[in-house]
Symmetry: C2
Amino acid sequence: MESKYKFVSVILALALVASLSRLVYVVSADADKVEQTADAKSVVWQIIMSRKSVRSYTDQPISREQIDTLLRAAMAAPSGKDMRPWKFLVLDDSLAIKDFAAKVPRAKMLAEAKAVVVVCGDMTVTGDDGKPSYSWVLDCSLASENLLLMAEAMGLGAVWVSVHPREERIQEVRQALNLPEHLMPLNIIPLGYPKGDAKPKDKYNEDNILYW
Amino acid sequence: MESKYKFVSVILALALVASLSRLVYVVSADADKVEQTADAKSVVWQIIMSRKSVRSYTDQPISREQIDTLLRAAMAAPSGKDMRPWKFLVLDDSLAIKDFAAKVPRAKMLAEAKAVVVVCGDMTVTGDDGKPSYSWVLDCSLASENLLLMAEAMGLGAVWVSVHPREERIQEVRQALNLPEHLMPLNIIPLGYPKGDAKPKDKYNEDNILYW
């Protein structure tokens, strides 16, 4: 009997050592892996490359908390003289969205959207010279790109529907939303969870890089 | 002796069970944690919120591979009618950068930069109507924002130096780089590893969100 328990003890001791060494390995590998997957470069790269124009959406709603996150990301964009000359008009009522979609018939995807953001330049935001920003189109574009990338990162679908600088489209949106004079619509961004399988395009072209 | 080994066996068996259960716990927790930290939403959010204007750079060089990554990110931006009307002029020779910096004296941070990208609209890129893009300013702005976010994610510092739409600055850049007529400079983006402690601004303002 003695040798039997001695044998069992040795086996158990070996198993314990194996188990503990595996535990140490897993815990340290875990630390490496977390560092690696948290790698901002690869995640941001992946989202920038995955961003696509999504024009069809499921019935899943979007919350005001999600919209707030998207607009916080938008407002983190740089702007000329740090003037932040933007306003974000949001429609998230389904009737209001359908009404807007009917008035902007060119943008068919609007009818399915669960929320719509219209990014506008605000001409009442003035600089030291008392004038509106000379760069509101650029600034609002940067804010919009932040919004589009954040939407992709959140698993949402979105698309930039062009308004500015085409005068007939500006007037169309202005009338549909009854915009005050000081708000200049840049674009319309419908949002929703993606339906279908919109794919990103590979737009790399080395001819666009000119070492000067 | 028998009871001694029997006791040792029981202790070892308990230790083995404890070790194995801890192993199972760590391995499953590991999976959760990796999923959580790989969470694109939190990483992209963090980078968008961390992006800042960096105007001073260390002596650490930037490789052409890094520049290629930045410009691939830039070219992934959306553009009106998918025309991609952009060209990216790159200076990465220190003498060329110093020469450019001397010719654009307003942008002092240029002299320290390890690489400089000038984002340009290309008027030879034409659409179905045979005309240049009506939205090159917007498109090149979106590409630039992708570049700035990718730089932040790579630990690089950058800043948007405004050129367009101010005519005197456009002419200054045009002459300094001897640009052909069809290239319209939008901005100048100096790049380098950050020196100093530039901080991002909190630009959230709920008054900029208008539920309509």
